[in-house]
Symmetry: C2
Subunit: 406 residues, 2 copies
């Protein structure tokens, strides 16, 4: 299968290329980007896409999500988080069947595809059902179960074994990869957390964990581990690759300490969800300063409302400028990196996805730039962050396959 995209404006997010290139052709052979050039001449093309007046950029990477939570969309208004969980979410989650998870996942993947996200880092129950739905939908997914020993030693061990089995099962799958997902330090004993982290490290896999989402969690960790959250990291994560979801409640001092930890740390920030649940604003500016890899996530629709990563980009940018009272912070291009190449780095997939480069997987989106809301275009990169929404995505391609074309 050969697809030729003609005459696009390319925002490749590759460090080796200019930020913006005009009149570019892109050749895709099967799942791979095989040529990027002007006026490509090529025989036996199966499909030509005329992308004049369109931007092509890498598919967005959602680094923290609970994919099957689509069914809980807009159930949160008027609740404090704990009451929402105990009254609305947990009783329903306890009754979810495998079929529910499968169908709810399909709904989310449809939403992802329609709004330009091509890869998602998931953490939820019945991960195999979500994997099945991902393969059927054609999206790329990093799967993590919800490991914890809150419900006892045996339940915890069962979850670990389940992850080890999933790793084997999807070892060579082109779309699904499996990593270790620890629900949080506050829902697991230190022994268990250590065990999961060591397993991830010895398998050379990522750890995906909720971290310092709100003040309650910080005090819960402190009282059960007798350590500050950042001290837990200092002890447990050296030499590991970790994705810390949220990380709202980190002080400058915490972040200075994290800088010194010899580990590969990424922060998956979810600004919409963090505001919606009354958690606050993650200190992304300071995180950038100390050199952490920042990526973005939507969280589940229960708190994040939807899976439109363009909204997360805009909010991440606006919040840092507004809260720090400095409009020079968070230039638009940095924000685009968070939603693309930084996300790929977080998931350990930056050799494969996250930018448009020859030899990389063809995970890309085509954006319509002709609507009133993007007229005139004074600054294309700013337009992508502040005015484009998921609804402006015209085509979504994952692994060389067109999943949606408007």
């Amino acid at each position: 299968m050969k697809i030729l995209i003609r005459n696009c404006t390319l925002v490749s997010m590759s460090q080796k290329r200019p930020q913006i290139e005009k009149n570019i052709d892109i050749l895709i052979e099967n799942d791979i980007i095989s040529k990027i050039d002007k006026n490509i001449i090529e025989k036996n093309i199966d499909k030509i896409i005329d992308a004049n007046e369109n931007v092509i950029m890498p598919g967005l990477i959602n680094c923290h999500c609970h994919v099957a939570m689509s069914i809980f969309r807009e159930t949160v208004d008027g609740y404090i988080t704990q009451d929402w969980l105990t009254e609305k979410i947990w009783p329903k989650e306890a009754k979810l069947t495998e079929k529910d998870i499968y169908e709810a996942s399909l709904l989310s993947f449809k939403e992802m595809i329609e709004t330009g996200t091509t890869t998602v880092n998931d953490m939820y129950f019945f991960p195999e059902e979500t994997a099945k739905a991902a393969i059927e939908s054609g999206v790329r997914i990093q799967l993590t179960d919800t490991l914890m020993d809150l419900n006892g030693y045996e339940a915890g061990e069962k979850k670990i074994n389940s992850t080890l089995n999933l790793i084997k099962k999807y070892k060579d799958n082109p779309l699904v990869s499996v990593n270790f997902g620890l629900h949080g330090f506050y829902t697991s004993s230190k022994e268990y957390s250590k065990r999961v982290i060591n397993l991830a490290r010895s398998n050379n896999l990522n750890l995906h964990v909720h971290f310092c989402e709100n003040s309650q969690e910080v005090s819960d960790i402190s009282s059960s581990y007798h350590q500050k959250p950042v001290e837990v990291l200092e002890e447990l994560i050296p030499e590991s690759k970790v994705i810390l979801a949220h990380s709202v409640k980190l002080t400058d001092e915490d972040l200075d300490k994290m800088k010194e930890i010899k580990a590969d740390i990424s922060i998956a920030s979810c600004p919409v969800s963090n505001l919606r649940l009354g958690c606050g604003v993650a200190p992304l500016t300071k995180m950038e300063e100390v050199g952490l890899n920042i990526c973005l996530g939507t969280d589940g629709q229960g708190s994040g409302s939807n899976l439109d990563m363009f909204e997360e980009m805009k909010l991440a940018a606006l919040l840092q400028k507004g809260i720090n009272e400095n409009p020079k912070l968070m230039p638009a291009y940095n924000i685009l990196k968070m939603a693309t190449i930084n996300g790929a780095k977080a998931l350990g997939m930056d050799k494969k996805i996250g930018s448009i480069e020859v030899g990389k997987k063809a995970d890309l989106i085509l954006i319509d730039m002709t609507s009133t809301i993007t007229t005139p275009i004074n600054n294309l990169i700013s337009e992508l962050v502040y005015n484009i929404k998921g609804s402006n995505v015209k085509m979504t391609m994952v692994d060389g396959k067109i999943l949606m074309e408007r």
Copy 2:
């Protein structure tokens, strides 16, 4: 002309009706809503709109905008406000012709109509050109010039006379009304500000003024008036109707004082612009507490990016929950009020627009609720605030005329 909207879900924003009503018909005769009922039977209908699976709500009211700034969209990234104004905006504004303003206004009205805003409160130069574009586009506008005496006594007097002439000219226009727009206390002498406010009061008209947008403005007012901004209000605005745009930098103490002023005060909050320019977050929760009328605005596209009022609603809601770390604040219905009936109150037009009621002007929008991003609908009011965007608006009607139908 008779238009019948069949079988909609009505979110009328009328205090006399339920928040949500299903299977409602709405009859529009010329510019007026003449019937709201189930199964209306009526002869000689010119057009029937099947609104099954659609929400009908009042057209949104944008209470602070600089309509012709569409041409400055996305010119601000990387600038601090003062540099942006002196390097990017003022030199270009000085060269703007009447034709530029007319064309830039047409572009903004197209954007407004496409994203469901039916009325706008404008403050800019060459207001007659914007009025001409509004009448051609069919939108409702409250026009205010940019009064100031910063450029000398004569320039200030000329601006006042121009407003007085505009008031006469548009006195009986169905779409255009004219009020007094004072650019800000920091760009006018106290004498001039007082004169403008007194003129507005004696003409029984609104005063539209920028107020406490950022820290610099607060200190500028304090040093030129030798009063705190809130003391300026205490002295100058009693018995007046005022719309204070922004009002970011008001303390609890300021707001307690404002509560005691015997005036009709509305706050036009512009959350996107306030973050983008690094101003901060307006204290809407405290403003609500002291009983001020809160409405929303996009500001011009130079700082607000676009005129999509759904984005302002979502951000206003999220920010109050997040910054105050309380997710129970700002229930979605309150936010909808800000963008509709509160806006109408601010503009002194609540007998005419801002809710869907028999006898009111037919300014309304039809929203598509069938997209993936609004599936499932667990809470319709929350959906309107957190998931609906301007792009989901299917039809926009102002003064009984359909201006856009997707």
